[in-house]
């Protein structure tokens, strides 16, 4: 039982998950689940009670049972008491103050649980989420180095409604001409089949080889599909999977810890990286657990942070919160999407993940391009590892709006951010640095090399 008296009224919260849910800034998904605060005052009372909570509590009271949930077991079993020691006597409120005061939160990483970072995020304003995340340096590498200070990478997302190879190649070339693609060239396949995924893998691999691009490719099929493509000898750089913050959510995605471990082992043995071997790519998003009826009465932001515990067990190259994709029943409008995007980035970075955000919305959400500009700019200030690059911000396969190649150019130019160093050198060799982009495609990037003739 947790309680706080505010303005003469005593507010009580029967358990930790209820306290966390009531303390969460308003969002439609928690309201749909029936766990959100019932008034603005109750929310702040919960935040005050949460601020007084010792961090130790998160090691003794779990929000999802240890016995029945393998994500909880992962969180508890991997906790590092030595890294936790400097903050072991702090409350959540004191931890927020500490994070704002210190220069480098990285040494704490393995001592932090997702619930601790989710809790502290709930008593942070946006500027706190930005300032603290900006101090978290996370670097990963495969064929280029992602996450160095002063850099922001872009996933080139050349989706096509029928996986037409010419269509994918044209969007890929368009993105390269606008400086995108250093995080990954990653296609969401329209059809999740071994045959279709294999042909896309070969096609992307050939483009990267012929243009000699220091980057990696990925077809975002289900992990079981990718593993079957591997058996067929397809060229696989990154192993992708959507993951969630409870065992039941992951089961709804058709994945288990064993499957993730199998893929991680396979990726390491392939040894396809040149400057590093981080070979996993995960996507997450608030609301997936509620959508799968697998949330255990826990608020969607805390569950989302728990997904990062799964991610960090497999040393990923990239982790991406697809924040506005799921729809208005989970994040209703631009305000909720903006807050959630910054929370996810903050929690992922504190836990040591190479965190990107798909700054995006659907047409039935109360959001527009202005909201996306706001979130993108704030994420740039927060040091986001990577964002998406979609031609004209319009994903014609998934039918949602993400950030465009132009949007990433805007952030890089306005905030003085550069691509990954190896990719920056490549852009220079191709004559694409400095912002001058000719109408005529440079000879070194001849479309024929991408299969367009």
């Amino acid at each position: 039982m947790y309680a706080h008296t505010l303005q003469g009224t005593r507010h009580t919260f029967p358990d930790l998950r209820t306290l966390l849910a009531r303390a969460t800034p308003a969002r439609s998904g928690d309201q749909l689940a029936g766990i959100a605060a019932e008034s603005a005052t109750q929310r702040v009372a919960a935040q005050l009670a949460l601020a007084d909570l010792p961090l130790q509590t998160f090691l003794t009271e779990t929000v999802v049972p240890y016995e029945t949930d393998d994500v909880t077991r992962l969180i508890i079993d991997m906790h590092d008491p030595t890294a936790f020691a400097p903050i072991a006597c702090m409350t959540v409120g004191a931890f927020r103050d500490h994070l704002l005061a210190i220069d480098d939160p990285a040494p704490l990483r393995s001592g932090l649980t997702p619930e601790m970072v989710a809790a502290v995020s709930k008593i942070c304003r946006l500027q706190d989420l930005i300032a603290i995340a900006a101090k978290c340096k996370v670097t990963t590498a495969f064929r280029d180095t992602i996450g160095l200070p002063g850099r922001m990478s872009v996933r080139l997302q050349p989706n096509h409604p029928t996986d037409d190879p010419h269509g994918v190649a044209a969007s890929t070339l368009d993105g390269l001409l606008l400086g995108a693609g250093d995080a990954v060239i990653g296609v969401n396949p329209a059809t999740d089949s071994v045959q279709g995924t294999t042909s896309l893998l070969h096609m992307l691999s050939e483009i990267v080889e012929r243009y000699a691009i220091p980057t990696q490719t990925c077809v975002l099929a289900h992990l079981t599909t990718t593993m079957r493509c591997l058996e067929n000898g397809a060229p696989i750089d990154l192993f992708f999977q959507s993951i969630g913050g409870t065992q039941a959510t992951n089961e709804s995605f058709g994945v288990s810890m064993n499957l993730l471990k199998e893929a991680h082992d396979a990726a390491r043995s392939l040894n396809r990286g040149t400057v590093g071997q981080n070979a996993m790519y995960f996507e997450t998003g608030q609301g997936s657990a509620l959508s799968a009826n697998a949330h255990h009465g826990v608020d969607q932001q805390t569950i989302e942070a728990r997904a990062y515990a799964v991610a960090r067990a497999f040393s990923p190259l990239l982790v991406n919160s697809v924040v506005g994709f799921i729809g208005p029943e989970y994040l209703y409008d631009g305000k909720q999407i903006i807050r959630a995007g910054l929370e996810d980035h903050f929690c992922g970075k504190l836990l040591g993940l190479p965190m990107g955000v798909d700054v995006c919305y659907t047409n039935h959400a109360e959001a527009d391009q202005d909201d996306m500009d706001t979130l993108l700019t704030l994420l740039g200030a927060a040091g986001v590892t990577f964002v998406m690059g979609v031609p004209g911000a319009d994903d014609i396969m998934l039918s949602y709006q993400s950030t465009s190649f132009h949007d990433s150019l805007y952030v890089r130019e306005t905030l003085g951010l550069k691509p990954a160093p190896e990719f920056e050198d490549w852009l220079g060799k191709m004559g694409l640095s400095g912002g001058a982009t000719p109408d005529r495609i440079p000879a070194k990037l001849a479309p024929a090399l991408a299969g367009l003739a």
Partner: protein
């Protein structure tokens, strides 16, 4: 065909917004405002109210009649926030649906695009109703999601229900209609129990082609007394909804 050398030539390969040009880091005015116009059309489609009288008039031209019901959502903001209410009939409307066991009932839902329903539903029904010789009613449902058809089907004691529904608008596709077939409809059915045709619109799957597929699928469903993944296995060219991309809706 010779290899393209100009950036704008990339447009021939994809409907994606490639080769938009560039002013500084930004989009040229024309491309920026073209995007805004498309988003506005999609937004208007999401928030447009279904003109029930107009739809009934269109149906009457092929001698079809329909009754109108509503979901438990009083308005569009509630509809967008509460998918659970959009799947349930308003109580007073449930009482108007008298149990009358039938083979197939049709439910036309506004979904996320009344525009799609207004443009394509009557034409599609005009092709499929005579072919299927259904003995159940046509019900028009507003503020409705796909699973509202289960509630209607259960109230009517229908053997099967076919739901036509406005799909979530994409940036260039504000008027896309979906069709869902469910055998033995009852509250609690999931998407895995249904078969789905998507993207019904002139530039996607034209109404005539959708009608042909729907008639085939409905005939198979009745013969085999099942829908969903089991039926999909027999007809690989027709996707079960479990395999389609789902974005929160329907």
């Amino acid at each position: 065909m010779t290899a393209p050398t100009l950036w704008r030539d990339l447009r021939q390969y994809t409907p994606a917004r490639v080769a938009l040009g560039r002013v500084g880091a930004g989009l040229p005015t024309a491309a920026h405002l073209a995007f805004q116009a498309d988003h506005a059309a999609a937004r208007d489609a999401v928030h447009a109210a279904l003109d029930i009288a107009q739809l009934q008039t269109a149906l009457s031209e092929t001698k079809l009649t329909a009754t109108a019901v509503r979901s438990a959502c009083p308005d569009r903001p509630t509809y967008l926030r509460r998918p659970d209410l959009g799947r349930r009939l308003r109580e007073e409307d449930r009482e108007t649906l008298q149990p009358a066991p039938c083979k197939i009932a049709f439910v036309v839902c506004d979904g996320l695009s009344a525009l799609a329903v207004q443009r394509h539903a009557a034409g599609l029904l005009a092709l499929i109703v005579p072919a299927l010789e259904p003995d159940g009613p046509i019900v028009i449902a507003t503020q409705a999601r796909v699973a509202l058809g289960d509630d209607v089907g259960e109230a009517l004691h229908a053997s099967a229900v076919i739901v036509l529904i406005g799909e979530r608008p994409g940036l260039s596709t504000p008027d896309s209609l979906g069709a869902y077939l469910t055998w033995a409809p009852h509250v609690g059915r999931t998407d895995a129990d249904r078969n789905c045709l998507s993207n019904i619109r002139p530039e996607g799957m034209p109404v005539a082609e959708a009608a042909r597929k729907l008639i085939w699928l409905a005939t198979e469903m009745r013969a085999r007394k099942l829908s969903g993944v089991g039926l999909k296995d027999e007809a690989p060219m027709l996707a079960a909804t479990a395999n389609s991309t789902s974005l929160g809706a329907p």
